[in-house]
């Protein structure tokens, strides 16, 4: 064992686990790496817990069991950089959530299955404690068994708001309402139905009805109020372009909101992989039918190639794992049904993205002093001033007014600043994908040896 794997997979969500498993079963020596201490990614977070009704958990649990018997698994390993080596790639990890032991894994091929994060929009008060992203509230519930609040408003756009609202209500929260900024498609026209997921759509509908949760289309939370924590929100009825028409107040201690997801693609971008614009405008890794990125030996699957949910992520992961094995000379019989399934799910994802776009009218919700960048506390007025000083694009605004220069490196506000200056969001250029202490950086020369005992 030289310590170099055939394939390193980053991300243990549905895409990464399916990819790693398919590659193993096709004969590759695989290592799967995830920063979290347990597998599952965002969808299957806490999948091992009983009473968790996440559809597909049992199947995921079987995949996980089969995989751990065949592949190396490095949980609690955050990948902060990836580099080309002579004949493959070096994956720089930090082990542990506080100790940060550096560790380098080498592999001939890489599969990025790093998922996505919520896409929040700014509005006055969006940084008040008690305002959470919808995914954040879901993560608290699924992963930590913590109900995000007592009286909760759910808002934003997209079908993801429905499982968030019903999950919180089932866990005992008083969900005051679900405010969908786009039109609330009647169940009969809902894209879930056309994708053959009628039971899922019906389940959410029943869940909302059982808990008497109002579900309103063309409504949004446009302001959050409170002194040191959230006490109420302003809900607006919107026109088709999302400009507010009429407002009212809803009392709540928690807001869970999100306007879709942003794929996390900084690692493939570090290697020079080409990106393309996804259906919702966010940059995604450009891949071929075998999930091959533009850099030979690099594959991407799941949300990194376009937001599409867990079933598509799994199908893409399998395609990627099989392509990686075939490209490394293993015999992999064709599986046209899998490609058809991925194509069908991906068409469904594109239909959803078109049904739940982000419309420009949200910019009317902002005031001069509304923070655009939470980290550097950059208000809208500073962004506007930078533009009046001649900043033509998001990058120039960033240099002048510093939005996106703080801890989160623009993850929360990059798309916002781009929209404010009329740009499309750019692929993220972050040489360091995870915070690293300076000592670890110095230790990580490309020749840094494996710790004794090799990567297992």
């Amino acid at each position: 064992m030289t310590g170099t794997y055939d394939l390193a997979v980053v991300g243990a969500g549905p895409a990464g686990v399916a990819g790693a498993l398919s590659a193993c079963l096709a004969g590759l020596d695989v290592v799967l790496i995830d920063g979290a201490t347990s597998p599952g990614g965002q969808y299957f977070r806490g999948f091992g817990a009983p009473n968790r009704a996440t559809p597909g958990s049992a199947r995921f649990a079987r995949q996980w069991e089969t995989l751990t018997a065949r592949a190396a698994v490095l949980l609690g390993h955050r990948v902060w950089a990836v580099e080309h080596t002579g004949d493959g790639f070096a994956v720089r990890c930090l082990e542990g959530d506080r100790e940060e032991r550096p560790r380098t894994v080498t592999a001939r091929a890489l599969l990025f299955a790093t998922g996505a994060h919520d896409r929040p929009l700014p509005f006055p008060g969006w940084d008040l404690p008690g305002v959470l992203t919808a995914g954040g509230a879901q993560a608290l519930l699924k992963g930590d068994l913590v109900v995000a609040g007592r009286r909760i408003v759910v808002a934003g756009t997209g079908p993801f708001l429905l499982p968030v609202a019903t999950g919180l209500a089932r866990a005992g929260a008083d969900v005051r309402g679900v405010y969908e900024a786009n039109g609330r498609l009647g169940l009969a026209r809902h894209p879930l139905l056309t994708a053959g997921r009628a039971a899922e759509a019906l389940g959410y509908g029943l869940g909302l009805a059982r808990h008497r949760i109002p579900y309103l289309g063309r409504h949004a939370v446009i302001e959050a109020h409170g002194h040191d924590a959230l006490t109420h929100v302003t809900v607006a009825r919107l026109d088709a372009g999302w400009r507010p028409l009429a407002t009212r107040t809803v009392e709540c201690d928690t807001l869970a909101y999100g306007y879709g997801f942003v794929p996390q693609i900084e690692l493939p971008v570090q290697l020079g992989c080409l990106t393309r614009q996804g259906t919702d405008g966010a940059p995604v890794v450009a891949v071929d039918a075998g999930m091959r990125a533009s850099v030979p030996g690099v594959y991407a699957a799941g949300e990194t190639t376009g937001v599409g949910g867990a079933p598509l992520a799994e199908a893409e992961g399998r395609l990627a794992g099989r392509a990686a094995a075939a490209d490394l000379g293993r015999h992999v019989p064709p599986l046209p049904a899998l490609s058809r399934r991925a194509a069908r799910l991906s068409a469904f994802a594109a239909a959803l993205a078109r049904a739940y776009p982000v419309r420009q009218g949200w910019q009317d919700w902002l005031r001069d002093d509304t923070l655009v960048c939470r980290c550097e506390e950059v208000p809208l007025s500073a962004v506007r001033e930078a533009v009046s000083l001649g900043a033509r694009d998001a990058r120039a605004v960033k240099l002048l007014a510093r939005p996106g220069m703080g801890w989160c490196q623009g993850r929360m506000c990059g798309h916002v600043v781009a929209a404010l200056v009329g740009d499309d969001p750019e692929p993220p250029r972050r040489p360091i994908a995870q915070p690293v202490r300076l000592g670890d950086l110095a230790n990580a020369s490309p020749q840094a040896p494996e710790p004794p005992g090799g990567p297992r």
Binding site: G46, D118, G130, G136, E377
Partner: protein
């Protein structure tokens, strides 16, 4: 709820807070009704959890004297001492 191993405690500014094994420091605080534990540098705005998955860096916290850890990603351990920037 998960039939879990026994709960343990951490302290937040000296006050005990219960933790279910596996919970993050941020989840334990949020679950105990502590919504913020940090103040921003410029305007002193209170901050706690926002993204919940380690991308926004709002939830930075000091654990056992180690500053700037993401509370949402840091799994709580028995006896952890959390210090906040909240007024006491």
């Amino acid at each position: 709820m998960r039939p879990v191993d026994r709960e343990f405690e951490i302290t937040v500014d000296g006050v005990a807070v219960p933790v279910v094994p596996g919970q993050s420091v941020g989840a334990a605080l949020h679950g105990a009704g502590i919504r913020s534990w940090r103040r921003t540098r410029r305007e002193g705005r209170p901050r706690g959890l926002f993204c919940g998955i380690g991308v926004c860096f709002d939830c930075l916290v000091t654990v056992n004297g180690v500053p700037s850890l993401r509370a949402c990603l840091t799994e709580a351990r028995p006896g952890d001492r959390i210090t906040t920037e909240n007024e006491r």
